[in-house]
Symmetry: C2
Subunit: 300 residues, 2 copies
DNA sequence: TATTTAATTCATTATTGTTGAATTTGATAT
DNA sequence: ATATCAAATTCAACAATAATGAATTAAATA
């Protein structure tokens, strides 16, 4: 059954005339005759009665009624696909690491979604390593995270610097200092995050270079919990600056860090093979980039 | 969107391979490539990702999910139409007059419908004139009735003789007779049916010929009510023999009629223009004919 | 009977779908 | 690296079929 012929048939029935159907479809009227004859031959049944005026056979009635919703569905589907192709609609699957997930993304996504009502977004919040796997496997369109151990199929584009600061108890010996350096970290017990955190890996490397091979550390699973441990005087912690800014920090001193401790580069992780990028995902990525990327950082 | 291409697409996704889709559809594999390329060009979107292994883009997923039920619908519809064409299913619209409607048809239709579970039947029970109109207008496929004033578009094929008999009160002067003739009808008040009944018209003609121009008549709307009027001694009535046979007739005498009073020819009324006849209707007509038609009568 | 309108037929033309051979691509084995 | 293999693509040639206009038929109107 040819879709074109079905459309023609619909119009013939609607107008009760071959000529008018031909007019509307910009066909010669012989074409209309041919299409219907082919349809009738294919189905082995007359569809129209050509008497004094056009009439429908029972088969014609059935075809008319049943093909109408089918054609509508087809149009609808075609439309949905066009919307997908233009990025008007779509499903964007994003991966994000903390603290971007909690502190930066909510407002941005809210704005993006209200600007693009046809687009749905789903979020995976996990470690850079887990996100890299998901991106590589095609479960995510892209991820905002730090640079993973580069797999060949993935690309990473730096967007911004995630700055870290030190949290100290008010009565801590280092509280008098403006800036904390790597060397200072021998002075007290250091509170660190779980093994998955990329900043922790960096910290370990820095401390090794500085010669602080053995250090009194305590592992705390959650970044947000860290400040309460600091407050209790258990030690000092290094956390993203944005956390300290957004969550009211009280009874705890905030100090800047120096040198390589300052921060980590965050950016977007994508899959080379995913091109051409789904338009909705592309739109979303561009939106996030325009709000997250810091000039100069993308060359790093 | 071409249906063939959609089917091809479905198979590619199902098998995850162009070659296997081509095999199953008996296409060259280049054909499969072409069909998908055309589809993608038409929709302005990639549908499949050709990497290490075949994958679906978001548009591909959408198309795959949405086109599946559409193709199923199409097959179903095609099947329904085939059934219609073979007469396995269909809707037969029959007109019938009394007494056939009440006494002959129920058992026949029951058998016919259980032999043809796919066929639906609707019945219009009315006078020959009304049925002739419905047939001419295409509201009925055919009617079982007496011969109407022949309109050129209609054809009538005699099937059987509807025999009439006389009902008399037990104490009636004519009760001693074996057979009632037209001449006997002067003897008493005659109970007759409504103006629409063709037998009544015939009766009027016969009586005119016999010279009984004025006759004491009483018009009773319903045939089945007649016997109660006869029972009460209001007069004699002429009714179809089948009525007397099926409804237990008691306290009323049944007598045969002679000559032209004996009965009326019933048969099938159809529309010339309705050919080719809907197969289900044809099947039903054949079935009824085989049970109703009396040999010899069809030549009348 | 003439006239008009609608549908059909048929031969021609245009379009498109299909194909095989050659080529490219990616994966696997050597 | 290189050879090998399977899968997908490209391309030119071919086949199928869809569309058309002119002529014809059928029915409706004047």
């Amino acid at each position: 059954m040819d879709v074109k012929a079905l459309k023609t048939f619909q119009l013939i029935v609607k107008h009760g005339s071959f000529v008018r159907a031909a007019d509307e479809l910009n066909y010669a009227q012989s074409t209309v005759t041919m299409q219907i004859q082919k349809l009738e031959a294919e189905l082995g049944t007359a569809l129209l009665t050509r008497g004094k005026e056009l009439g429908l056979t029972e088969a014609g009635r059935l075809l008319y009624e049943q093909s109408l919703p089918m054609l509508k569905n087809m149009e609808q589907l075609e439309n949905n696909l066009k919307n997908l192709a233009t990025g008007e609609s779509g499903h964007v699957r994003i991966g994000v690491t903390e603290p971007t997930a909690s502190y930066r993304l909510p407002a941005m996504l809210k704005a993006f979604l209200s600007e693009n009502p046809g687009i749905r977004v789903s979020l995976e919040i996990a470690s850079t390593a887990a996100l890299a796997d998901s991106v590589a496997a095609g479960r995510l369109d892209f991820a905002v995270c730090t640079s993973p151990g580069l797999q060949s199929e993935l690309f990473f584009e730096p967007w911004f610097q995630e700055e870290f600061i030190a949290l100290l108890p008010s009565d801590h010996p280092l509280a008098g200092r403006e800036v904390i350096t790597a060397g200072d970290l021998t002075a007290d017990r250091l509170l660190i995050t779980a093994a998955g955190c990329p900043y922790r890996r960096k910290l370990e490397m820095v401390l090794q270079e500085t010669g602080n091979i053995q250090l009194d550390t305590m592992e705390i699973g959650s970044m947000t919990a860290l400040k309460y441990y600091v407050e209790s005087g258990l030690g000092i912690a290094l956390v993203p600056r944005i956390m300290a800014e957004r969550d009211g920090i009280s009874r705890v001193e905030v100090r800047a860090l120096s040198g390589t401790l300052i921060g980590m580069t965050s950016g977007v992780l994508g899959r080379e093979a995913a091109y051409p990028f789904p338009p909705a995902a592309h739109k979303c990525l561009d939106y996030l980039k325009s709000r997250l990327a810091q000039p100069g950082k993308e060359l790093q």
